[in-house]
């Protein structure tokens, strides 16, 4: 407890590219850990994590359940959780989120807005824990200290896990992504009706939407003309006449980039190997497809 603070900072050695390449929430998380005073314990926890002592991390509802192989035969059970926002808090957050279409837009597109905290500020709460103390934890190891090295080992691995799914943070605060988006849609509707009322357009809009809703679903053309069951008069699209390969660096794999899967510390090359093998096989399969396309109709 009274060990002097170590000068050497532990960065997220898990990523070879360094912090700059990480999404902001991972970066923030690592900063949080590094603010921890007991560097010796952190170092030991880091070793634990790297050597694969953490056997599982699961996000179950609002809690993180993990198992860490310690000195005893059975792994220790670790729980981590954040303070959940209550419904009132969330209603403030939702209201704030609705004010800017961009926030909904990004969340829908699977992007965590960098300034999301501003929406949370409206409720006086935060999405991200500000201090390490806000991260609640429990471990069934005999060590009385909290966080113990088992918990700390989980800290290290959590950052990477956030990048698999940034919306895990919402989950830990009490709303899954699905629920959040649902609530946002509702909230947006309220805002819209309020705006509509204000501009006295309500009548018009109501009429519009009613007539629109009354129109029955269009019958499929094949119902009117059953011969469409068999008919196909299309011709081969001109782009498909000659089948060409992708331009250099223009495949789906290239655009998708790094696979956002937390690395298993014992297999530091796994992700990279997995991707490069996919690239390699992909170009082999592309060759094969082009060959097959050339012999069509022979």
């Amino acid at each position: 407890m009274n060990t002097s603070p170590n000068k050497t900072e532990i960065t997220t050695a898990l990523s070879e590219k360094g912090l700059g390449q990480q999404p902001w929430w991972v970066e923030q998380w690592m900063e949080l850990i590094n603010s921890y005073r007991f560097k010796k314990r952190l170092e030991r926890a880091w070793t634990y994590a790297r050597e694969g002592n953490v056997t599982s991390i699961r996000f179950e509802g609002r809690r993180v359940h993990a198992r860490v192989q310690g000195t005893e035969e059975d792994p220790y059970k670790v729980k981590l959780w954040l303070d959940v926002l209550n419904d009132e808090d969330w209603s403030y957050v939702l209201e704030a989120l609705t004010q800017k279409a961009r926030w909904s837009a990004q969340l829908l597109a699977g992007i965590m807005p960098a300034d999301i905290e501003r929406a949370f500020a409206a409720s006086g709460r935060r999405l991200f824990p500000f201090k390490l103390q806000e991260v609640r934890s429990e471990c069934n190891c005999p060590d009385k200290a909290n966080p113990c090295k088992h918990i700390s080992a989980i800290y290290f691995l959590m950052g990477d896990r956030f990048s698999e799914d940034p919306f895990v943070l919402f989950q830990l605060r009490g709303r899954t992504r699905t629920k959040l988006l649902e609530d946002l849609a509702k909230q947006r509707l309220e805002v819209l009706t309020a705006i509509a009322k204000k501009s006295n357009q309500e009548n018009n809009l109501d009429k519009d939407s009613k007539t629109k809703n009354d129109t029955p679903a269009q019958a499929h053309p094949a119902v009117i003309n059953p011969s469409l069951w068999w008919k196909y008069e299309g011709s081969l699209n001109a782009d498909l006449v000659v089948i060409t390969p992708a331009m250099e660096g223009d495949t789906g794999l290239h655009s998708a980039g790094e696979l956002p899967l937390a690395e298993e510390p014992r297999f530091p090359k796994a992700r990279q190997k997995f991707l490069s093998h996919l690239h390699e096989q992909g170009s082999k399969l592309a060759q094969h497809a082009m060959l097959q396309a050339m012999t069509t109709g022979d």
């Binding site: 059953p226 299309g234 006449v241 497809a289 097959q292 012999t295």
Partner: protein, 1069 residues
């Protein structure tokens, strides 16, 4: 004939199968079937081939896939209601009181492809037997199917499948895929590793819409089906009826918009192929990635991991994919850019929602916000959660075009402003990137990157004053201006604008973008100051986007006189009709006058013309009228060579005698034909038209070359379709100009424009330069069109040849009003050598016998002679009572040769024909011969056909969508009572002396219910008894109807000299 179909079977779990998807290949075929209805489970489809038959059939067609198993599926098919009388009775007998309510017991029959659609159509599920192919094997099989053309054995949806598979190959070739982990859809479904296509690119999205809009529903009309038997611990068990009912309820699938379905099918094809070819290498991988990778390469894709580990993989892979492509929706976000208003600096960018299926369907963001959680109707397209769709797209757009962040600052953004620099970035680079991630971008027309936004030319041209527009090489009076984005500019202005070095320029009210090479191209063009010929004008106005010296032509204004020439050339305007010339003894129908005008028009330009009118529209008459026109105009100075198949030479001669008696016709035919140039020249003095056959033209080509022909006409021009055949080469050779110009006309009844492979030789005959050398033609047109069905090449080809082709169909609206509903055609034919000598010998031998015979026997002998002569006119084999069709069968009869030629056109056109003969033996021989020739069944209805067989033949001919196209009938057995309105051709192969009997037979087809014009072909062997009797029938004055009305008996009482005159074979040469 059977027709092959392919239907996708979605993944289903059965006791015996792993629950994998498969492609069901099945075939329908016509047979007599009783109506059926579903009981506990859907009824059996009565028209499918059983798996064993299907295997044999596919094997014969070389289409048998690998890795197949017999399978049954439940398909929803349009069906016709047919009451089943027998059934209702039976259930009443069983139990006095009808327990089952018969009314609800629907019965009927499934419709087959191509069958006419009844007024009342219902959709019912049917059990269909076929062969199931595993997805990977299915992709291999689909790759081998033809990509274009109509194959009579393959349902149209197979072409749709082959296009889908081609797209799958393209997706793989371009690497537009990502591996994913798909969570179980519920108990019993495993988690799977899948290969998923990425449909974010603009072209892929468009393709999805195209294939979805055209999806033939039979491709996806399967419901899950569970086999009634299952294996449980070595024991085969049968499902109890309740279980069967529960597993396979009588239910139909609803036809729905195909977007999602097609995306799923594409995924299935892509997944199967990548999975099959993927080799694993788990070196240095952690356990999670190892499992995933192995599952990606495994046949089933099943992942066995703890639920939470799989969920992790699923979330991560999903998140990974979201960065590239969203999900498949009916609409997308779209950014619309508007140029600044007057004096303003800022550009406006509006947010709109745009339908995927039709980019012109758009609604502003305000409407989307107002719709709230309700669905939004975009034209006919329903969009669920429109607000989410729009927002998601905008969120995605932010990742490539940052400036819009400003515009999304409030709750319900509608539009925003962009600075000129930002607008330029959008136009130049971001628009493409945005489209790549599935966000629509609409730019002002002058900047849209289309042809109009490129620097090009606006042209004004007119024929020079002295010119009448008769030669293609002549130069036009013309002027031009530079044009870009719809506005014109001078070179000077262009230079000034280019000097501004600003990427987006405002000029004459439009915003334009100059490209680096624009100024250079324009300067080069101006300094060259090229000439414009009539030929150029034709080319430039034929297809869009043609260029002169790299500059596209945006506008082509032609003066009134040039306009007239161009319009006729492009057939935008019907050619000016030309009335029948003096000396033409006959009437031309209005469309024939137009045809004549067209021939005269092209002749004026010295261009070859191919008249390809449908059979029965009178090509012969139009050509004869044209020749007479030349004669009347005193333009016919040298002889014209007409080459035709031997079988129609007689016809030509007769028609020329009838319609153009002024034309001097000479036949270069037979053993006595001149063999030296001087003899030939001597014979051709004063001659206008020389008839010869293809065979003799080839043999005597050196001799014929010595004549300075004014023109060469080929009839049945398909005879030269094979470019390397000697006959074709010789024909093309003789069409080349000699000392003087030589016009070229081709006649054919086949749809030449659709037979790419045959076009080259024809065009080489008509106008050699149009399609270039054969090798070039093969690479440029034939390969892309025939193998891949490349429409742009086909369009280009058609644009090139269409000025020289005129084809009218009997069904054309402008033709229908000109034509009577029944057209009678006399098909004049000659006799083969064998027929001639047999005919002569028979006449000589028999006439003496008749003269010597006692009166009582004479009658019978006369009729016997006439019958035998008619048989000889049909075929020597018939007269000689031969039982088999031996080699050389065709060449022994001129009539058969002509019949075969006409039938070929009938079959090609997809029409149906009735063939009447009075000789049952001839029917049998002909049936055998035609079946050998075309490899399909030819039914023959005659005296010994049983009542049931008769009905089956008639039903099949009338109803089977792929039924026989040719139906042989004996005049006696088939001439009355039957209804055969599906036929639009009637052939009277041999003549009956009584027109009433012939007409009655004709009326099998020409009666109520007939929707087409009926062509009646009457064969007449010239010079023979057939021709003379035909004459007698026509000349009613000599033979009152009541005499011939009684049949053939009157012939028996003719005197010997009358008889001799009647039967003696006249020299037709």
């Amino acid at each position: 004939m059977s027709l092959l179909h392919a239907t996708w079977l979605p993944a289903i779990r059965t006791p015996t199968s792993s629950g994998r998807a498969a492609l069901l290949v099945w075939a329908d075929t016509w047979r007599v079937a009783a109506p059926a209805g579903p009981r506990d489970t859907p009824a059996m489809h009565p028209f499918t081939l059983a798996p064993e038959e299907l295997r044999i059939w596919l094997n014969k067609k070389n289409l048998l896939p690998h890795e197949i198993i017999d399978a049954t599926a439940c398909l929803t098919l349009p069906s016709r209601t047919v009451k089943s009388k027998g059934k209702a009775k039976a259930s009443k007998n069983e139990s006095g009181i009808t327990e089952e309510i018969i009314e609800s017991n629907w019965t009927g029959l499934p419709l087959q492809a191509g069958e006419p659609i009844p007024k009342q159509c219902e959709w019912w599920p049917w059990q269909v037997q076929g062969l199931a192919i595993e997805p990977a094997a299915a992709t291999t099989w689909l790759s081998k199917l033809p990509l274009s053309g109509n194959n009579p054995d393959l349902g149209e949806e197979l072409r749709w499948w082959s296009h889908l598979q081609r797209w799958a190959l393209s997706i793989i070739a371009r690497g537009r895929w990502l591996p994913q982990v798909e969570l179980s859809k519920g108990e019993g479904y495993p988690h799977r590793a899948r290969w998923v296509p990425l449909l974010n690119r603009e072209d892929d999205r468009r393709r999805l819409e195209e294939l979805a809009a055209r999806l033939p529903l039979v491709a996806t009309c399967a419901l899950p089906w569970r086999e009634p038997t299952g294996k449980r611990s070595n024991r085969t068990t049968r499902l109890r009826p309740e279980a069967m009912r529960a597993a396979n309820p009588v239910a139909s699938c609803r036809p729905r918009s195909g977007r999602l379905r097609v995306a799923n099918l594409l995924e299935a094809l892509v997944d199967a192929q990548l999975r099959k070819g993927f080799e694993t290498n788990t070196d240095q991988l952690d356990p999670l990635l190892t499992t995933w990778q192995k599952a990606l390469g495994s046949e089933t894709g099943i992942i066995t991991l703890l639920d939470d580990e799989v969920e992790r993989l699923a979330t991560a892979s999903n998140h990974w994919r979201e960065g590239v492509a969203g999900s498949v929706a009916a609409a997308r976000a779209c950014l619309e850019l508007f140029t600044p208003t007057k004096d303003a600096d800022l550009w406006e960018l509006r947010f709109v929602l745009q339908a995927e299926a039709d980019p012109t369907l758009k609604v502003p963001a305000a409407t989307v916000w107002a719709a709230g959680t309700q669905t939004l109707q975009l034209g006919e397209i329903r969009v669920e959660h429109p607000g989410e769709v729009l927002l998601e797209g905008l969120g995605r757009a932010l990742t490539v075009f940052e400036p819009i962040e400003r515009g999304l600052d409030n709750a319900t953004p509608n539009s925003m402003h962009l600075t000129p620099a930002e607008a330029f970035v959008l136009v130049r680079t971001a628009a493409r990137q945005l489209r790549d991630i599935g966000v629509g971008v609409e730019l002002p027309v002058s900047l849209s990157g289309g042809l109009a936004s490129r620097l090009g030319l606006a042209i004004k041209a007119e024929l020079s004053k002295s010119s009448r527009g008769f030669t293609l090489g002549e130069n036009l009076d013309w002027s031009w201006e530079l044009m870009i984005g719809g506005v014109t500019l001078t070179l000077h202005e262009l230079e000034k604008l280019a000097n501004k070095r600003s990427p987006l320029i405002h000029h004459k009210g439009a915003w334009i973008e100059l490209r680096p090479n624009d100024l250079k191209n324009a300067e080069l063009f101006c300094s060259t100051n090229p000439k414009l010929s009539l030929d150029d004008a034709l080319r430039l106005t034929a297809t869009e986007g043609d260029t002169i010296m790299k500059l596209p032509v945006h506008q082509f204004d032609s003066g009134p006189r040039l306009q007239g020439v161009l319009e006729q050339y492009h057939q935008q305007k019907a050619p000016d009709p030309l009335a029948a010339p003096e000396g033409f003894s006959g009437q031309l129908r209005p469309y024939q006058e137009r045809g004549l005008g067209w021939l005269a028009f092209l002749h004026r330009f010295d261009q070859g013309a191919c008249l390809a009118d449908d059979m029965g529209l009178g090509k012969t008459i139009q050509l004869l009228a044209f020749l007479q026109h030349l004669k009347t105009e005193k333009e016919l100075k040298r002889p014209i060579l007409l080459i035709a198949p031997t079988s129609v030479l007689t016809n030509w001669k007769r028609e020329a005698q009838a319609f153009t008696p002024e034309l001097k016709v000479y036949e270069h035919y037979g053993p006595k034909r001149p063999s030296s140039s001087s003899d030939l020249k001597q014979s051709l003095k004063q001659i206008d038209l020389v008839l010869t056959s293809y065979g003799l033209m080839q043999r005597d080509s050196a001799l014929l070359e010595t004549i300075d022909w004014q023109g060469v006409v080929i009839d049945e021009a398909q005879a030269i379709k094979n470019p390397s055949a000697k006959q074709s080469k010789a024909t093309r050779e003789i069409a080349k100009p000699g000392k003087n110009n030589r016009f070229r006309i081709a006649l054919t009844g086949t749809p030449v424009e659709n037979r790419v492979s045959e076009l080259w030789a024809l065009m080489d005959f008509l106008n050699p330069r149009v399609l270039g050398e054969e090798d070039f033609f093969h690479q440029r047109y034939r390969l892309p069109i025939e193998r891949y069905g490349d429409m742009s090449s086909l369009k280009d080809l058609k644009a090139r040849v269409s000025p020289f082709l005129l084809r009218r169909l009997k069904t054309d609206k402008t033709i229908i009003s000109d034509l009577p509903e029944k057209v009678e055609l006399s098909e004049w034919v000659g006799l083969s050598k064998e027929q001639q000598s047999l005919y002569r010998k028979t006449v000589e031998d028999t006439l003496d016998a008749i003269a010597r015979a006692p009166r009582g026997q004479r009658h019978g002998k006369v009729l016997g002679l006439l019958t035998r002569l008619k048989q000889i006119c049909n075929h020597p084999a018939l007269a000689l009572k031969e039982k088999h069709v031996l080699e050389g069968f065709l060449t022994r009869s001129a009539k058969l040769q002509r019949l075969e030629e006409i039938l070929e056109e009938v079959i090609e056109a997809g029409d149906r024909a009735l063939l009447f003969t009075q000789f049952a033996e001839w029917g049998h021989l002909l049936k055998t011969y035609l079946q050998q020739k075309w490899h399909f069944e030819v039914p023959f209805l005659y005296g010994s056909t049983t009542k049931t067989e008769r009905q089956a033949m008639v039903d099949r001919f009338q109803e089977d969508p792929r039924g026989p196209q040719i139906f042989l009938l004996s005049l006696k057995a088939g001439g009355i009572g039957l209804n055969l309105t599906r036929a639009s051709h009637v052939f009277h192969i041999d003549r009956w002396w009584n027109p009433a009997v012939e007409n009655q037979a004709t009326d099998r087809a020409y009666r109520i219910g007939q929707e087409n014009r009926v062509l009646v072909h009457k064969f007449i062997t010239s010079g023979s008894v057939e021709e003379k009797i035909d004459q007698m029938i026509r000349e009613k004055s000599r033979l009152a109807e009541d005499i011939i009305g009684s049949g053939e008996d009157w012939l028996g009482s003719l005197g010997v000299s009358e008889l001799r005159e009647l039967v003696t074979l006249e020299e037709t040469n």
